[in-house]
Symmetry: C2
Subunit: 261 residues, 2 copies
DNA sequence: AAGTGGTCTAGACCACTTT
DNA sequence: AAGTGGTCTAGACCACTTC
């Protein structure tokens, strides 16, 4: 990455390219460099989720650029949900410990009535070796240690979601079944608070399948009944995949809500 | 809406609120007003899909504001996919007649290989009266004239999608079966070119269901086989709903791809 | 060379929150 | 009153496209 210039003109000078320099150096706009620096501070934990980051003026002084340039950098981070702006207060590191964040990744909403968060029942937690398909998806090697979690989520007492999670063992080393059972709220909140790993985006593949025996029993439905089947890979900073989640969703009274923009 | 002030200070003056004025007038930032004016020109067809809109400098002169303010307005329109910026060329009205737009609304992609657009087979086209549930969703009254379209879409010759579309009869008056059959490419392209109605966003509800007799026959599968079931309402300018689309998707070799950001 | 969008700066003032 | 993000301006220069 380019270094941040100490005066406004040096970037332009660099961009013009001195004789003998590589043909196509990876130049980027100043505000992108600032954005990368701020992202680094987020990733390193210099500012933790929920905390206030330095003001625009302060960051502008620190990086020796104008406030407008810092502003543009933060604008993009806000658009990517990495930070949250609050007028008069400051800019905060985004966190999964907020109602507004809960339904960004959980898209199941009731056919009638207002969305609410499901209850959580942990079925199984194990330390195992990664199967080939799992390893490939979360950037590990076959046989690497992973944590396997199985759970059922219920809305108003009705079991609706069966999920299996695969997590890199190295990152989530201290994760215990007890902690998972006692924890209320989104698992991403737990990951962020206790393992310093914040999920920032996810990629999901959705299919329809017939319920297998196991799922049918857990969801209290007939085997073969149609279920939504989701395979999701979640990414943390640097587009690093750190979770594979396979879910079966009963869509009799809830549905997957998606906005196409 | 507020009128655009002819000098930079008048908006601030208005925002401070004269004595005796309503308590909470609906003031909005200048750039939002400019954005609304540009959107109006898009909606009215002053600039048609694919066309170049006036340059930032020209718009700034027209509206008597600075280029920066126009820029911020256009930035938001670009973020909402209403226009497309191209450096050195200008800003263009977005259109569905582009490869890049095709997969914004069609989320079915192959499990392996690169996404491509399906072939289209029109099964039925009728002018009917809107059932209550359809009318409610696209902002009509029960019994209002609607156009009903049924079609099957195939990837590589394999029928994969059965869709039923409901369109307000008033807006799509001249729509004929012949035109639909001969038209290649996304239907949204046809709607935009020939009916001046451009879809700008959609809201989708997804479920898993068992195939009914009709769908099973069209998709060449067994009745009861699991299918993705989507109900989508599409909106044009002003958040006006103008299409209801109900689809059944066979997800044996294709899946619904979704990015959670 | 001229025109377009893209970046960067500097300074002013506003709206909101806290002290 | 002081500090924060939000808006708006004016001017400079850059990168890209077209003539």
């Amino acid at each position: 990455m380019n270094s941040v210039p100490t005066n406004p003109t040096s970037n332009a000078a660099a961009a013009s390219g001195a004789a003998g320099a590589p043909a196509t150096p990876a130049f980027s706009p100043l505000y992108q460099q600032i954005k990368a620096l701020i992202t680094q501070s987020l990733q390193s934990g210099e500012w933790k989720p929920g905390e206030l980051i330095p003001s625009e003026v302060e960051l502008a002084n620190r990086f020796k650029v104008s406030q407008g340039t810092v502003r543009k950098a933060i604008d993009e981070l806000a658009a990517e949900n990495l930070v949250v702006r609050r007028q008069g207060k400051g800019t905060f590191v985004a966190t999964h410990h907020e109602a507004r964040a809960h339904f960004r990744f959980l898209r199941m909403v009731p056919d009638e009535g207002v969305p609410h968060y499901p209850e959580n029942k942990i079925i199984d937690v194990r330390r195992v070796r990664a199967p080939a398909d799992v390893a490939r998806l979360i950037d590990l090697r076959s046989g690497d240690p992973v944590i396997f979690i199985k759970r059922v989520q219920s809305f108003d007492g009705v079991p609706t979601i069966v999920e299996e999670l695969w997590l890199p063992g190295l990152i989530f080393k201290g994760l215990t079944a007890e902690r998972l059972v006692e924890y209320k709220g989104p698992m991403y909140g737990l990951f962020e608070s206790e393992f310093g790993t914040r999920m920032i985006r996810a990629s999901e593949q959705i299919r329809a399948v017939g319920a297998d025996e196991g799922a049918a029993q857990l969801l209290n439905i007939a085997p073969g009944a149609p279920l939504l089947c989701s395979e999701r890979v979640s990414f943390t900073y640097g587009d690093k995949p750190v979770e594979l989640r396979r879910g079966l969703y009963l869509t009799s009274h809830y549905h997957y809500q998606n906005e196409l923009n």
